[in-house]
């Protein structure tokens, strides 16, 4: 049975009198990947800080029942003069990991994030992408039961994005809850069990349908890039039609309910 790890109960929060959250409620439980969507400056980072205990609500209650937290803020830094291994060990020590567990945990993460060859190298000598991987690995050192990841894909190349997706799936399979804030709606549609959309200072919960409502087909019509939306059952005939006209199909993307809801909410002035 899923165990609740964090929850907001009618939370209010403002910065210098500017309201960010008003009567906002949410809940996170074990083993689920939950998306967090919202325009810039609407309170996604504040939400994560409240869950992490960095901030406290003005009104309402924030329940924090997780044991260990992995937190990756949107803008993050590292101790650039430390070696990769020393930094990961530092994070473990900070989280009270016993010495005996520290070495295997660090070794496992080095392997998982393909950082073994950089073990003794200073972080400042690594590429931006590898530094990003060190940051991600650091959030996993405490063996968290709740992960807060804010834009974890930024700065990663396609290969490392795939690596991160694998890590995410692995976390879910091990019962770790992940709150994932990203602007990549396709990824959320693919990964998230549900998504909270921050609109009008509250969370609107979106649970995706089992089947996509439709697809967006992009094709090359005599040199012009075109795209149309079709219902699920119309997809095969649309692809055939493109082929019949000799229009190469460039992409077929599931038309997400999330995207339409997100746009709809924003259209209402979120």
């Amino acid at each position: 049975m899923a165990e609740r790890l964090a929850a907001f109960d009618r939370v209010w929060f403002s910065y210098d009198g500017r309201p960010i959250l008003e009567e906002a409620s949410l809940a996170l439980s074990t083993g689920e990947v939950v998306g967090l969507l919202g325009l810039n400056g609407t309170g996604k980072t504040t939400t994560m800080r409240l869950i992490a205990g960095i901030l406290d609500p003005e009104r309402g209650a924030v329940e924090r029942t997780y044991r260990r937290l992995g937190y990756l803020p949107e803008e993050r830094g590292l101790y650039r003069r430390l070696t990769v291994e020393r930094y990961l060990r530092f994070v473990g020590e900070l989280n009270g990991l016993p010495k005996a567990d520290l070495r295997p945990a660090v070794d496992r993460l080095m392997e998982q994030f393909r950082l073994e060859e950089y073990r003794g190298r200073r972080i400042e000598a690594l590429s931006k992408g590898n530094q990003q991987k060190v940051q991600l690995a650091a959030t996993l050192v405490p063996s968290p039961d709740l992960m807060l990841w804010d834009e974890p894909f930024s700065g990663l190349d396609a290969l490392n994005q795939d690596l991160l997706l694998d890590v995410l799936r692995d976390l879910r399979s091990r019962g770790v809850a992940v709150l994932l804030s990203t602007h990549r709606l396709d990824d959320l549609e693919l990964l998230a069990d549900r998504t909270y959309i921050l609109a009008k200072k509250r969370f609107v919960e979106y649970i995706p349908p089992r089947q996509p409502a439709g697809y967006r087909v992009r094709f090359d019509q005599d040199g012009a890039d075109r795209s149309i939306e079709v219902a699920s059952d119309e997809l095969p005939s649309q692809v055939q039609e493109c082929a019949a006209h000799g229009w190469p199909v460039l992409s077929v993307t599931p038309k997400t309910g999330l995207e339409s809801i997100f746009r709809e909410l924003l259209g209402e002035g979120a």
């Binding site: 960095i54 803008e75 830094g77 020393r86 900070l94 009270g96």
Partner: protein, 388 residues
Amino acid sequence: MWNQIGAVFRREVSERITRPGYWATTALGIVVMIALVVVPSLIAKGLHPSLTVGSLHVPHAVLMAAAPPGTTLKILPIASLADGIARIRHHNLAGFFAARGGHWAFYGQVNTGISSMIAQLNRDALVHALPPRLLAALAAAEAHSQVQVVSVSPGFGLIVRSVAIYALDVIMMVVVMTYGVFIGMSVVEEKESRHAEMLMAWTRPVRLLMGKILGFFALAFIQVALWSVSGLIALSVKTHHFSVQGLSPSFLILFLVWAVIGYLQYSTAFATLASRAQRSQEMNQAVMPLSLIAMLGYMGSAIALGHPGGVVQTVIHMAAFVPFLAPMLALALLQLGGMPWWQVLIDVVWQLVFWAGLLRVAARLFHRHLLNYQSSLPKRRRFFRRAG
């Protein structure tokens, strides 16, 4: 709690102790410390170990026989008590021996060489292993009582002592300010890189702050300890004794106590003020109020060097209880006769209590400022718009 403080502590130490700059500064400090000990000693004694004392009716042969081994003793005939005291006060004479009515006395400031002579001349102390030459000289002079010491000040030794106190005061200020700036830079770096936010999800601000303060304290302590040990070794090599020219172990302990208190107060305040800065370039501006307060302490110690009296002395004495000024002024106050021990105790306890309170307030401000990435520029703009 202590695990987390320990983790931050170890990180701060291990990252910085490997930097060549740290060890270059330490080596430079050792050279300065040795110079600080040796140079006044050289000034006081000359390049060769020699000692000049006056003699008022004391046979020169007795004084020559009591001269410390390896020291060239110069004896200056003194015409009268007034003449001798005038020479101490105006001509840098350390002191003179006088024989009056069968009793011997030493007038002046006792240094290591003179202390050795007094011990030799003191008949009670010479029961064992009395050198035959001295025994004969004493018998011929019919000396039969202990040497009485009459302190006459200010002598040259006192001035040297004042210089030593002042120099240690300056060293304290340099250490406190340098490490204050270091800790401030560390805070700004974490804030600028947004690393602080990650850290605060795992630990409380007060633990992060404490880990930093203790980490930098360890680095400062290693430096000050190496400097102190090198200074004491230089003292022992030069004088065969650990107490000379006012630099006694008890004085050094007092120095360390005030240096630690100064470090704790300033580093906590530096970290808090630095957390207001958005970028490294803004740090100096953020910590400027603290630098000005430290300058006040420095000025107070400079004034104390001049041995003022009256209201100025009272003001310095009272200011020695004011946090941030106390570490420098309490030490400098030794030049004006110091404080009674119970006042020192009260002051030390009060400064530590103040620091504990400061730490609590600092942790709150530290937390608030670290998450505030908004520059204060808009406020200034608003002000100027209004003013315009």
